[in-house]
Amino acid sequence: MNPQAIIDGLIAGSTIGLGAIGLTLTYSILRFANFTHGDFLAWGAYLSLSLMGLIGGLLAELGVRLAPFSFTLALPLAVVGGIALTVLLALALDKLLFGRLRARGADAIIIVMASFGASMALRSLLEFIYTAQPAYFTTALQIAKPLGLGLRATPDQLLVIGMTFVLVAVLHLIVTHSAMGRAMRAVSENPALAGVYGIDVAQIVRLTWIIGAGMACIAGVMAGLLVQIRPYMGFDLLLPLFAAAILGGIGSIPGAMIGGLIIGLAEAFAVQIVGAEWRAAISFVILVLVLMLRPQGLFGKAGG
């Protein structure tokens, strides 16, 4: 078995885990499985790409590569804007669609269905705007440097893995230790009681979208930087995202991250045995196993 699968798995797992964080938060706080979440990843990547082009065009002096990475300063700047725009997209969708259905008292499953319809529309809109041709943040080639033990990784890949861990740690600390995090956990347990306790539930809902869409954008850019950007990239990640969120236990941020890493590693190792064409089936198999053996997930509470 090729040990390089560890690096491949960690990289794929970082993207999946970061994306699954938003999914698990919306699932536990807004109480529905959001099928548009994958498309937030894709939109985040494309919006950042467009902004990068814009910034690069306006400020040519930013066109210097940030050694040892493959991209220029325009990319991190664009990602900041991309996050803001992805968050706006999520908030707009909540205001126009999900929020209205919630206010009407519609069943969660109707909101799931609406998210399914919206996801198709969002994805096809990307295809219309940017065409189905893959796009790239950078065409610069990077040499994978040896890390020892027969492992190799490019600086970009190491950056992605490192950034993911920092983001997850910060988010986890916020949720477990800040007033905001307490309020989020309270709303996830009982939204009506949260209002009685003085929590502005609408504000927590907005906060959930901000964190979820922000992480989705970063995950989308990471996937775009290391592989490529396609309108269907989010859709293809949706099953791994769901599997990671459920495997980790709905509502758990470290759970989503660990779930993502497990799925990334499982994919990387399994494709060496069954072939790359079966990659998408791996997360399905894991999902089925979790539902059979431990439906509450690794860090979830039974019956929760």
Binding site: G105, A106, I110, A121, F128, F242, P295
Partner: protein, 319 residues
């Protein structure tokens, strides 16, 4: 004559969609089960029937050359078995777990269709799926009309069967379970088992639709069973009116008409190299339409007659 032949062709395809919608209506409209893997169930039926009925081929397993009716029966059995497996796994959990799992089923089956070349013919699919009335093939009009008649007969038979079932004690209990599970349980009904039965029945009907479609077209390939199909069928049922079997059929014809007409329009208006891109606008339109109907007329064109689905209206007041 050519136009009439096309109309017959168009209606036959619409009727195969109507069969899928009727199956979905059993699962969603009557029982409230959200299936996001319709394309997988339909594809499974198509492939099973194709494998059972195609003539022997050197490069594949299967090719049993059985009669078409045996293919249809095999498809329904396969659809029911898959539904039972999915149902057993997820129906005791939150409703969205079924959605996520069926979504996964469709992804996994799509991979099987594409990659299990020795069984499914891989990306190129299977040709020479026997077509009913193949003898008429020389005359497109007669051929399409005969097939339309058969497909309509299937739709009618299913419609009558489902209407009968819904008026039966089984159907009444099913709705009781959907409206108020606790009360139904108190009356000694087993909601889990009823849901499972409904899900399996719906899955069998969807698989039958796949078989009917495969035999009409005479060819089957993985590309026919993309998530797009699931999405179209949902739009059909929601537009037509979930819970209402006539609504399901009406929705299928209507949405398929919108789809075909907008497709024709795009072919007319856009240059050839832009058509794939413009086709994505079709999906945007249907997606937005689905959301708008959920927002403004969740009961669809033909609402459920007896009682509006609890899933579409207000919650119980004590929630």
């Amino acid at each position: 004559m050519e136009l009439l032949a096309y109309c017959a062709f168009f209606l036959t395809i619409a009727m195969t969609y109507a069969i899928i919608c009727l199956g979905l209506n059993v699962q969603w409209g009557q029982t409230g089960l959200f299936n996001v893997g319709i394309a997988g169930f339909v594809g499974l039926g198509g492939y099973i029937s194709a494998i059972l009925t195609t003539p022997e081929a050197a490069e594949r397993i299967g090719g049993f050359g059985l009669p078409i009716a045996a293919g249809w029966a095999g498809a329904m059995l396969g659809g029911a078995v898959l539904s039972l497996a999915v149902g057993l796994l997820t129906l005791r959990m939150r409703s969205d777990y079924l959605a996520i799992t069926t979504f996964g089923i469709a992804v996994a089956l799509q991979l099987v269709f594409q990659n299990a070349e020795t069984l499914t013919g891989g990306a190129f699919g299977m040709a020479f799926v026997p077509r009913p009335f193949a003898g008429f093939q020389g005359n497109a009009f007669a051929f399409n009309l005969a097939n339309l008649a058969v497909t309509c007969a299937v739709v009618l038979a299913l419609y009558l069967l489902l209407e009968h079932l819904l008026r039966s004690p089984w159907g009444r209990t099913l709705r009781a379970v959907r409206e108020d599970e606790v009360a139904a349980q108190a009356l000694g009904k087993n909601p889990a088992s009823l849901r499972l039965q409904a899900f399996a029945l719906g899955g069998a009907i969807m698989a039958l639709a796949g078989a009917v479609q495969a035999h009409f077209i005479g060819f089957i390939a993985p590309g026919n069973f993309l998530p797009m199909m699931t999405f179209q069928v949902w739009a059909m049922l929601i537009v037509g009116g979930s819970g209402n079997n006539r609504g399901a059929i009406l929705g299928a014809v209507l949405v398929w008409a919108i789809w075909a007409l907008s497709g024709a329009l795009i072919a007319e208006v856009f240059p050839a190299d832009q058509q794939a891109r413009a086709a994505s606008l079709q999906i945007v339109v249907i997606g937005v339409m689905l959301c708008l109907i959920l927002l403004w007329r969740p009961q669809g064109i033909l609402p459920e007659i007896r009682s509006v689905s609890r899933h579409l209206g207000r919650r119980h007041k004590d929630q």
